[in-house]
């Protein structure tokens, strides 16, 4: 399980997160909600090591990984499906998947089979350039790519962004299946539908800090989230 304790992070002189604590536990998919610009992406970047922490700790099964470089965090089992998908556009689907497994060497045939089973469309298109896929397909690819790293904790940064409802539902199903295998899921979302579909636990961020927290079914229907989006 992943525990983020009292994390502070930001850019330059600006601190965005002022002591945030969240956790992702296997069997309890968690969603982090919050208005645009509140620092959700910043949180994902800090957890994966793309930006440094200013203080706090990131514990993976009790071990502090906040000093590790991004590669080491991936190796230990933290994978991110980044905001905006960020597939490698001029590489084939297969190459994107190989890169997902980069820290462990080349992926096994079983891993490819697993992806093919979860996302049949990717298996069909494995020779195609990722940049030519549709938005939904790219999102599947980003998800599959993260899976190739054999994560213990899977972070997803607004996977519903820019997707048609049907594609959102597909992503939701896939994530639920992944979660059911024992992967701890931490979803960052603004889309209530997807959040409700996946999460058992919810956290609301406001002004760079946790404003509310509780079981997803209660919190998401309580209006606390809408209130936070409207900024009061």
């Amino acid at each position: 399980m992943l525990e983020v304790c009292d994390l502070r992070a930001g850019y330059g002189r600006m601190e965005v997160l002022h002591g945030v604590s969240v956790s992702a536990v296997s069997g309890r998919p968690t969603v982090v909600m919050g208005a645009n610009g509140v620092g959700k992406t910043t949180l994902c970047r800090a957890i994966t090591g793309l930006i440094p922490l200013r203080s706090g700790a990131i514990l993976l099964d009790g071990e502090d990984i906040s000093r590790c470089d991004p590669a080491e965090r991936v190796r230990r089992g933290v994978a991110l499906v980044p905001e905006g998908r960020q597939v490698f556009p001029e590489m084939t689907v297969r190459e994107n998947l190989r890169l997902g497994a980069y820290v462990h060497g080349e992926p096994t045939a079983a891993q490819f089979d697993d992806v093919a089973e979860l996302f049949p469309i990717l298996a069909e298109r494995q020779g195609q350039m990722a940049g030519l896929l549709s938005g939904g397909e790219q999102q599947m690819l980003a998800l599959a790519r993260a899976l190739m790293a054999r994560p213990r904790v899977l972070l997803l940064d607004e996977p519903s962004q820019g997707l048609a409802p049907k594609a959102v539902a597909q992503v939701g199903q896939a994530v639920t299946r992944i979660a059911s295998r024992g992967v701890a899921v931490l979803l960052v979302e603004q889309n209530l539908t997807l959040a409700e579909m996946i999460a058992r636990h919810a956290v609301v961020l406001e002004s760079g800090a946790v404003a509310a927290e509780g079981p997803a079914d209660e919190l998401l229907s309580s209006g606390a989230v809408e209130a936070s989006y409207l900024g009061h």
Partner: protein, 289 residues
């Protein structure tokens, strides 16, 4: 007149190969790391001078070239550590200034060691190939062949090695590459090593054809930047075809219009190409990042 045309075409391809050979390393470093490596001209220059020094000391040309390439690879990695890595987070302008500084420091060091006088490396292969249609020196053929070998070599590294996969990933999306657990340290090192090696190979070979002097890299790098834009930024086939195209255009302008106009002609063509195809011959239309 027809055979004159064939001869001019061969002249152009020979000249273009030299441009392309220099542009390859530049486009690689720029494409992967977004570093406008002005010091590439000095990798080129040092490749030439180191080869020259060893050949003069009695060493076989090809051995000297191999050692020079090795030395320039080390230097390339050092330049990255000292000049570019420290300004990684700084605005692009700092990168430009750092690149210029590296370039000037290397030039001046060479000036102190070898002086400013022009000289030529004794060519390993002399003589010319005379065909009924054109004449070409063996050295020019070697340069053209080296261009093809170098381009093929780089292609193989990028497309057949795991390291190449990582390098391409960084070129396409640095953050996503980091998320894959790719070590930037390795990629930078490899990119600079390959880039510097390409520069040094170009320098050693062209130093056996053209005079070498400490500022010899300045012009080729300017031309290589033109090739970069012509061919499409970061595109290896673009560097090869852009270089050949530029060479042929320059020679045709000099050969059929006027030797005074060859530079102007080349830049006019550049502007024309960019008006018609802003992303260059092989560039992708800018993908949103």
């Amino acid at each position: 007149m027809i055979d004159l045309f064939v001869q001019q075409l061969v002249n152009g391809l020979a000249l273009g190969s030299t441009y392309a050979l220099v542009a390859l390393g530049l486009t690689l470093i720029f494409g992967v790391l977004l570093i406008p490596n002005f010091a590439h001209g000095e990798f080129y220059m040092l490749g030439a001078f180191l080869t020259y020094a060893m050949v003069l000391a009695g060493m076989n040309f090809w051995l000297a070239m191999a050692l020079a390439v090795g030395a320039v690879i080390l230097l390339g990695c050092l330049v990255d550590r000292l000049a570019f890595k420290p300004v990684e987070q700084a605005p692009p302008l700092s990168m430009m200034i750092s690149a210029l500084a590296a370039s000037i420091i290397l030039q001046q060091s060479a000036m102190l060691i070898w002086g400013g006088e022009a000289r030529t490396i004794p060519a390993p292969v002399t003589g010319v190939l005379r065909t009924p249609f054109f004449i070409v020196t063996w050295m020019q053929l070697i340069v053209m062949a080296s261009l093809l070998l170098a381009a093929a070599g780089v292609w193989l590294v990028l497309n057949r090695l795991r390291l190449g996969l990582a390098i391409r990933a960084v070129a396409q999306n640095r953050d996503a590459a980091l998320l894959m657990g790719i070590s930037m340290f390795q990629v930078r090192l490899a990119t600079f090593a390959i880039g510097a090696a390409l520069g040094a190979i170009a320098g050693a070979l062209l130093g056996a054809t053209f005079p070498i002097y400490p500022t010899m890299g300045v012009n080729p790098v300017l031309k290589a930047f033109v090739v970069l834009v012509l061919g499409g930024i970061g595109s290896l086939p673009g560097a090869v075809f852009g270089g050949l195209f530029l060479g042929v255009v320059e020679v045709m302008v000099a050969g059929y219009i006027s030797s005074e106009l060859s530079d102007i002609g080349a830049f006019a063509i550049l502007v024309a190409v960019l008006l018609l195809r802003p992303q260059g011959f092989f560039g992708q239309a800018q993908v949103e990042r």
